[in-house]
Symmetry: C2
Amino acid sequence: MTTNDWSVPETDVFERIRTVLDAGSEAVLATVVAVEGSAYRRPGAKMLVDPAGGGAGSITAGCLEDEVRELAADVLAAGEPRTETWDLTGDDDVWGMGVGCNGVITVLLEPLTESYRTVAAARERGEDVGVAAVVGGDLPLGARAVYRPGRGFDADGDGGEDDLPAWLREAVADPLDRLLERGASETVTLEGEEGTVEVFLDAVTAPPELVVFGAGHDTGPVVELATLVDFRVTVVTFRGGRAGRDRYPRADEVVSAAPRDVATLREWDDDTYAVVMTHNFVDDRLTLAELLETPVAYVGLMGPEKRFREMREALAEEGVELTPADLERVYTPIGLNLGGDTPYRIAYSIVAELLAVANDRTPDHLGRSRGPIHDRVDVSTD
Amino acid sequence: MTTNDWSVPETDVFERIRTVLDAGSEAVLATVVAVEGSAYRRPGAKMLVDPAGGGAGSITAGCLEDEVRELAADVLAAGEPRTETWDLTGDDDVWGMGVGCNGVITVLLEPLTESYRTVAAARERGEDVGVAAVVGGDLPLGARAVYRPGRGFDADGDGGEDDLPAWLREAVADPLDRLLERGASETVTLEGEEGTVEVFLDAVTAPPELVVFGAGHDTGPVVELATLVDFRVTVVTFRGGRAGRDRYPRADEVVSAAPRDVATLREWDDDTYAVVMTHNFVDDRLTLAELLETPVAYVGLMGPEKRFREMREALAEEGVELTPADLERVYTPIGLNLGGDTPYRIAYSIVAELLAVANDRTPDHLGRSRGPIHDRVDVSTD
């Protein structure tokens, strides 16, 4: 990744964190901890800056990146975390009324430490993880603890980083669970023994999982696009099809399997999405039936409606009837109606649908009130 | 591009054609000329195969590519075009009922010749071009002529490739115009002096143009995604912003300009789409006003609805009132509602909206009748 490659998939920011830690290099992690008004990124957005000027991620659309890089140098020199708040409201000049530069944004800048390896590793394993970090008030700035849902705060083996008092950890456990559910991060103000403390609760949710069944030429574009928008992607091939990481270099995993083993192939959950595109009727049918025995949220099936009807008839002949709940999870013909029949355009429609479903959105135009001004309702961005 | 990189943007197939011609190498161009039933690609889909086994493009989702490569070797050896038809209907076996392998598909395979340079060059220049090629009947197989809308058939300087009789060229000129309008290709049967002739009319439409105004970190992902789905992309930067092809290596063009020159910056037409994301209120406002003086089909404006309202007020103060027709072309907040706030997810929503508008589609789920079976209507893929 070049030093200019600031806008990268979120996954790449975390990979960069691990690379820096593995190399024992220095870097500064800048995290948006609070936003008022209109901002380009939400709390939790991260940017990694190294002293040579490189890094990854972007926390605004450009208006603050240079300033953040300058501050990062100071932070490394001081060896201590700091927060910085930029108030851009009412600034009618160049940056005023700019997109994402019209609010109040608070950023925590801190030297990257080993404690962050825990976070990056959990995310890589597909586990949600929370971080509670002091960003103001009567406790040391940057004091932090790592939280695992169902397991509590990790008080062992991570370099003595658990500098948060017990009362604080107890107070934020439930809020972290809720934030992880929502996939949102925020700063909260707490009153405790030491006084008033502002704590940034970062919900570092594991990326959604995409499992693609297929090994045709059309699989590659789906994998590539899905990884760009931060799906963790597994490719499953049958019949010893041309499997192999070299064929799908961007996939996180490539496995060979038999269709009847799909339900037991991995841990399936409801933040996992399956795309069935083996181009083989029998394999697709077996895979579909197996997937419907798992809790996957989405089974996208390539092919026309007619093919799905014939598949249902074939399943019925085996005594397998799809319930309405099953049918709710099957998306076929797969994809959003964006037009185009090239491999990348087809893949684009598929991944667009995956995003809409994973983020629970109805995929209409954000400027949806597309009529004369008096018909327009106030559409707020989310 | 590796020899395994068959699924590439359509633009890359044409670039590969030019590369092969420039190198004086041999290759076979395989074009889908007719399809009955369900097929992965439509007539006009192209695949280039070179004798070493490499190439670009894919004309089916995998079921025929190996056979096409074998035939390509024969075609080069014979030095002559041929057509091949595969009938996969009723084949219940492995490939039967497979996606895209359940129809009748006819492919024209021909040694790549200099006449194709004309086609590739026109497309590169943003010009639509039609090709009429004999694929059966009483004229030599592969005899072809290149057609430019408004200019007719090109009878000079392209290597004596205009082997089609005048009556045939006259007969297909209007059909080619209409096919170019629709962006569709098809084989027609004609009766002429020589007898019955089947002619494949290929509408090689120039890619839609995307002009992105902005030079922030968030511009790169928009450029990258748009080129993958075959937009021709120009980046326009203001104020000597960090312009340069090296910053946007995938862009077809990067230019520096002043906002007040936008309307005269280039040839604007209604197959051109503009995304305004300079992050500067004044620049965005000036650009918006200039763009609305052009015939562009789409002006996507980044930022919340509120910002657009303030922009309209500012324009009104200058005596510029936006008409309902203007408002119809302005899309803000930009993008489809797919969720997510990372640079790539935002870019993904924007390019998804661009595809929907460029292809005149309502971006709903293709499997839109998402209810119990009796509520489902027959949704045909297009």
